[in-house]
């Protein structure tokens, strides 16, 4: 049904996003746990440092794609009825898109 993100493409996207997510999550955990953020200024400056904000945006992009492939696999596995499956897939895609826009707003408005 969906030619984009089908089969091999989805598999590759999921793996590549997984590698980046693993890298970023470990980085985030290290930063937040090993040297915790003391106050708003430090936090804000760190997130919006040019390199970091780029890494964050890449993180959110990877996260949304990774979540899409994962959930899509599950919906395909557990929903045999076509109308139910297609509705769920489209709804979830819209939710992810909405989250993407929300994240973009945060990164643009709060800098």
């Amino acid at each position: 049904m969906s030619r984009q993100l089908s089969g091999l493409k989805a598999w590759v996207v999921q793996r590549i996003s997984a590698i980046y997510l693993a890298f970023f999550v470990l980085l985030l955990i290290y930063r937040l746990l090993v040297e915790p953020v003391a106050n708003f200024e430090e936090w804000h400056a760190w997130v919006f440092h040019p390199l970091n904000s780029t890494l964050f945006l890449l993180f959110f992009l990877s996260l949304l794609f990774h979540a899409w492939v994962g959930v899509r696999d599950m919906l395909i596995d557990y929903l045999p009825s076509f109308p139910v499956r297609i509705t769920s897939l489209v709804s979830f895609a819209l939710v992810l898109t909405g989250l993407g826009v929300w994240i973009l707003r945060i990164m643009m408005v709060y800098r």
Binding site: I19, V25, F40, V47, G70, M74, W102, I103, I106
Partner: protein, 113 residues
């Protein structure tokens, strides 16, 4: 008919379940992220929220989810490039993932509190 559930099966289904848990938590996390960056007040509110009882409970589950999903994911990626395919190694790595996931959960949640 009974289906056996060896450790490798548990790792697999827990990987899926932890994924779902994290996906469901994305909206709240995005909200918290935005709140923390909105200003001095917002930052303080988000810190308070992070330590509220309900969020702490949920955070415990999330700490496990992150730990397990990450380790199980790495195990799957290694299997993709044919590392650890033999039954013996696969079983051992599955147990390691389950144990490691628990450990990471304690670590992350410990630091969270």
């Amino acid at each position: 008919m009974q289906i056996r559930m060896p450790p490798t099966a548990w790792v697999s289904i827990a990987h899926r379940a932890s994924g779902v848990l994290m996906v469901l938590s994305i909206p709240f996390c995005v909200y918290l992220f935005g709140l923390s960056l909105s200003g001095e007040d917002g930052f303080q509110q988000s810190i308070n929220l992070l330590h509220s009882p309900l969020v702490l409970l949920f955070g415990w589950a999330l700490s496990w989810a992150i730990g397990h999903h990450l380790l199980a994911g790495i195990r799957f990626l290694l299997l993709d490039i044919d590392v650890g395919l033999s039954k013996d190694v696969a079983n051992k790595s599955a147990l390691a993932v389950l144990a490691g996931g628990g450990l990471l959960m304690l670590l992350l949640f410990g630091a969270w509190i």
